[in-house]
């Protein structure tokens, strides 16, 4: 037991060190920029730092609920990217998979044959299928035509964005607001009464679905032969081929699973009762790119993604509340980028910790 705890400490400590260094960097930026900014007083700086630390807890339960709701999509895109990383693929295309999944969900929820719970479940499944198919293109090109998955994913992001715009305009379009028409309230995701615990927030069943998805991916990767095969292909395609693993098929399957997760993320965003809409603007969905940060911060561990997703949302909400002290919310992304940057040093930190330990003995 004691060994397990030291092992856990050893695994988590380097991440905590990178988070600490990143936050330190952020505090320096906040203090220095505040001192140079004539519109900010020292009190502003102090309360700004407070808001940052409080994050999701700034407004008590309502902001906590908002935090859980906002964490849902980035946990899922984070799991998508992390899963792909573990199988040797860089899924920079979560953005496109998210968007096509989101559209599929909205379309089915509005036009599906079973208004109510039937439609939302059907919508979620369609979103996962759409995301999986979108990612399958990348997997097929990689496996059979040797096309680098980074470039094909980037292309598929843009193609997905424009196609969804076209599809929205021709099917479920609100001309006045330049966005999709709202999903009927009966076909939105159940809130499970959570909104009475977390008033004024949109938290619903989605958060639990995201957590369950992360756990399933963790089990798949670490406890099943199939997961082992997928990881083996990522580690050494030639060796796994020699061991009798169908590596081409596995690349396609890995991409499809990653795509399904990103598609699910899109579904849960747009099926929420809070009323999110796909807007017709030429901007790639940010959830996909945040997913990369989430996955990297968790060292591509699916269970770790739950915590890194919550942590990033905690920072983001902190940044939101810091606007009251005239801070641009982008300061949070600066901190986050510093944390991710330092997380790249994790190998170095590990050696550092081990040396310290060795020295004591």
């Amino acid at each position: 037991m004691k060994n397990k705890i030291t092992q856990l400490f050893k695994n988590v400590a380097p991440s905590l060190m990178s988070i600490g260094l990143g936050l330190l960097f952020g505090v320096v930026i906040i203090v220095v920029s505040g001192m140079f900014n004539e519109r900010q007083t020292y009190e502003d700086i102090w309360y700004g730092l407070n808001s940052l630390v409080l994050g999701m807890l700034n407004d008590g339960l309502p902001s906590l609920g908002t935090g859980l709701f906002r964490a849902t999509p980035i946990i899922l895109t984070g799991v998508s990217v992390a899963f792909a990383f573990r199988t040797g693929l860089f899924n920079i295309g979560a953005s496109g998979q998210f968007t096509v999944g989101g559209f599929a969900a909205i379309f089915v929820a509005i036009k599906g044959p079973f208004p109510g719970i039937g439609n939302w479940i059907l919508a979620v499944i369609s979103a996962m299928l759409a995301g999986a198919l979108w990612a399958a293109v990348v997997g097929l090109l990689k496996a059979y035509r040797n096309v680098n998955e980074v470039i094909s994913s980037i292309m598929m992001n843009y193609i997905g964005m424009y196609l969804v715009q076209y599809a929205v305009i021709n099917t479920v379009f609100d001309y006045v607001k330049n966005q999709t028409v709202p999903v009927p309230i009966v076909s939105t995701t159940p809130t499970l009464g959570l909104t009475s615990i977390f008033p004024n927030s949109s938290v619903d069943i989605g958060f639990f679905i995201a957590v369950i998805a992360a756990i399933i991916i963790h089990i798949l990767l670490n406890k099943t032969t199939f997961g082992f095969e997928l990881k083996a292909c990522g580690f050494n395609q030639h060796a796994s081929k020699y061991a009798g693993i169908n590596s081409k098929r596995n690349i396609v399957i890995s991409m499809m699973i990653a795509g399904a997760l990103a598609g699910l993320s899109g579904a849960l965003v747009y099926l929420s009762a809070s009323g999110n809409h796909i807007e017709i603007v030429d901007v790639l969905a940010t959830e996909g790119f945040t997913g990369i940060s989430v996955a990297l911060l968790a060292l591509s561990n699916p269970l770790g993604v739950i915590f890194s997703g919550l942590f990033i949302v905690h920072l983001q909400l902190g940044g939101f509340y810091m606007q009251a002290q005239k801070f641009a919310p982008q300061v949070v992304e600066i901190i986050l980028s510093a944390i991710i940057y330092f997380s790249a040093f994790i190998v170095f930190f590990k050696e550092f910790i081990n040396k310290k330990k060795g020295g004591k003995k």
Partner: protein, 318 residues
């Protein structure tokens, strides 16, 4: 008829040149073995610093000086941010993708944060027009004058200059040979006395300088303001780099292809033949990306990235 061709060619250059410069920036880094997913971030830094320079100095300097100053500071900004990437990926032997992602995230946030701290709003606008209507003498040359020396930017010539110098450096100099060796087989390079870390540092720094210049070029040729990002052009430049097989001339063709497709999606209404096809606008927006995918599927079978790309150099490894 000729006017339509000239017009579209000139328009195409506005998109092609930034892509060319930034893809070449990526080439230096990746041919030395360092993955450069941070091109977008470096472009943003270059675009922001350059635009900020023009914004702050527009009343004191002449137009050519503004452009040169902007280019200089854009290059400097790109250089500084590339050192951050080099330190992580070479000295600290860190994962290059992680460092690159962090820089992409940092750059956009920093550009907006700094703009809002300096001048309250995040948009950095300048009304200075850098367009050169006609280059004296040269614009009188038939055809070529119309294609290259009318409605152009100084950066267009800079872009071609960078291309020619890059070909020379990569294939005709000792440094170029060493750079390629570090990207293919760093252990072998090390065994003959090449300082792999130093070569990679220089490569990443060149990459930063060029990406910064490319970022400012993008801002100057496509708009007259900077608003926190470069429209994902850094990622398109990565696509151009891979599409161009990490080779300068192929990168040029890839950049022209992209620039042309991008231009047609904006100007197809001026071309009678395309209007007669009656395709929806969406088709022209998708075609550049779809065509790239199809082309890649056809040519990638034998494509080879630099062999040691993304590999951390470890002297002990054989």
């Amino acid at each position: 008829m000729m006017n339509i061709i000239y017009f579209n060619f000139q328009q195409m250059m506005y998109f092609t040149i930034p892509l060319l410069i930034v893809a070449l920036a990526g080439m230096y880094s990746e041919r030395s073995g360092v993955v450069n997913i941070a091109l977008d971030g470096k472009m943003v830094v270059g675009g922001f610093v350059g635009a900020m320079f023009v914004f702050l100095m527009k009343n004191t300097l002449s137009v050519p000086m503004l452009l040169l100053g902007g280019l200089f500071f854009a290059a400097l900004g790109g250089l500084l941010i590339s050192l951050v990437h080099a330190y992580a990926s070479i000295t600290m032997k860190a994962d290059q993708t992680i460092s690159g992602t962090a820089i992409n995230l940092f750059s956009v946030a920093f550009a907006i944060f700094a703009a809002r701290t300096i001048k309250v709003t995040q948009q950095v606008e300048f009304n200075t027009n850098f367009l050169i209507r006609e280059v004296p003498v040269l614009s009188k040359i038939p055809v070529i004058g119309d294609l290259f020396f009318k409605n152009t930017f100084f950066t267009t010539f800079l872009g071609f200059a960078i291309l020619i110098v890059s070909i020379f450096v990569l294939y005709k100099t000792k440094f170029g040979l060493r750079l390629r060796a570090c990207g293919e087989f760093p252990q072998a390079a090390d065994s003959v006395g090449i300082n792999v870390a130093k070569v990679r540092y220089i490569a990443v720094m060149i990459s930063g300088i060029l990406a910064g210049i490319g970022g400012f070029t993008f801002v100057v040729t496509t708009s007259n303001s900077f608003n926190g990002d470069v429209g994902g052009y850094g990622f398109l430049a990565i696509a151009v780099l891979i599409f161009g097989q990490w080779k300068p001339m192929r990168i040029l063709f890839a950049a022209i292809f992209f620039g042309l497709m991008k231009t047609l999606s904006n100007t197809y209404a001026t071309i009678p033949f395309l209007v007669s096809l009656q395709l929806p606008t969406i088709a022209y927006k998708i075609i550049p990306f779809l065509a790239t995918l199809v082309l890649l599927a056809m040519i990638s079978k034998n494509s080879v990235a630099p062999k040691a790309l993304g590999e951390i150099f470890d002297k002990g490894k054989r």
